[in-house]
């Protein structure tokens, strides 16, 4: 059961992201804030940290390609960035303490970096013209807050699920 739960959750998060994106942008006091849901990559980072880096990179590649083809129509953007972020997360874990607070902050920082790289890319190819300051205020900050909140609520559940899988695998091996 647990074996299939990990990919199932990933697929669910992948499908949920665009639905939640429909609630964005929100308007507060005349200012417009974009909330970009990055739940899938947060989950993949957790897999990379608590389970296996290689597995996370594979998932990252698979969902990155889907994301590119279905939403972005620029193939090769997310399909590189997703595995790369998973790889970096898996490498970082070797030097840090695996406490939930630490991993949560690492994940959020990685998502912020991802968002920034995407901004740079879209700025380069003229898909967006907004200046850096506006990007930081109306996109990056609300996105970080929203995703951090999401991870604070569901991070422990991710860890619980991944731990269950790790334990199950250990039992299979022994």
């Amino acid at each position: 059961m647990v074996r299939f739960l990990i990919p199932t959750v990933a697929v669910l998060l992948f499908l949920l992201e665009p639905e939640l994106a429909m609630l964005s942008p929100i308007e507060i006091h005349g200012d417009i804030y974009y909330l970009v849901p990055r739940f899938l990559i947060l989950y993949l980072i957790f897999i990379s940290i608590y389970y296996s880096r290689q597995r996370a990179v594979m998932y990252g590649l698979f969902f990155g390609v889907l994301y590119d083809v279905f939403y972005i129509d620029i193939i090769g953007l997310y399909s590189v960035l997703y595995p790369l972020v998973c790889f970096v997360a898996g490498s970082i874990v070797k030097v840090i303490h695996q406490h939930l607070v630490v991993t949560t902050s690492v994940s959020v920082i990685l998502v912020a970096i991802l968002e920034f790289i995407l901004y740079q890319f879209f700025y380069l190819i003229d898909f967006t013209t907004i200046p850096l300051a506006v990007f930081l205020q109306s996109r990056l900050l609300p996105t970080i807050i929203a995703n951090a909140l999401f991870l604070m609520i569901l991070g422990w559940a991710f860890r619980y699920l991944i731990h269950a899988r790790v334990l199950q695998r250990a039992r299979e091996v022994s």
């Binding site: 499908l15 639905e19 994106a21 129509d73 953007l77 879209f122 967006t128 013209t129 907004i130």
Partner: protein, 304 residues
Amino acid sequence: MPHFFFNKKLILLLVGMIFLVALISFSLRDRTNATLPEQIIKDTVGFAQSIVAKPANYVTGIFNNIDSLLNTYEENKRLKARLEDFAVVQAEATDLKSQNQKLQDLLDKKDSLREFDPIHATVIARNPDQWEEKIILNRGSSHGVKTNMAVMTAQGLIGKIILVTPFTSEVELLYTNNPNYRVSAMVLGEKEAYGLIEGFDKERNELIMKRINASLTVKKGEQVISSGLGGIFPKGVPIGEITEVSTDDYGLTKMVYVKPSADFSILEHVVIAKRSSITIDGSDGDATNQDLTNPQKADEEETN
């Protein structure tokens, strides 16, 4: 031989980079058709997405209902004020409609830019990273959707179809950064003023309508609708209301800011408008240089 392996990795990385750049530049070209593997992926994900979209739409519907419940009192006051005008306007509209029909019959004029066949569609996804303003619908070429068709809600125009697969289609919304995105529109003032919707002001959150003849007067508060002269969209789809009038960069033509009448933030059910009269064949159309106004003649020419 660690040195050798290092080189091999480096070469692999380089080849990968070249492949990546090639792939990105290939997909960045203006494409109107998806390749077969893309179509398969899009349709499969679209199918799964439409299953998830149903409960999600239901939940957002509940939130919307709560939201509108809170505004009920205000809205009711406003609507009551309008209701009295409404009966008069409706009677006038029916009268005008029948009169118009009679006159058209008299003239034997069958084609109208206004007419379109609606295709109802549900929004199954919105581009989650929101850099490009795109939504994905659950209707595709197998339902008769083609690229460049207008997409609207009950309130007004929201965008046009840019990519079609057998079971899904992609809509580029009106507020996009794409400089090639233009909609031929007209202002319903004392005298109709024609112009083009070109671009979107991010700070004001309003559309920009340019190239209006400087000798015509357009005022704040006047309605803007699609003119149908672009050759693709039907005529008479509401776009918005003028909020500010100014002149363009060179001072030769007028430029107005238009507040869109459609609500872009929560889109659920949309209508794809398939124009009944002939659509043009320019760079936005099929670009085959066929004579579409005389189909028989064109066919003959082709056979010759």
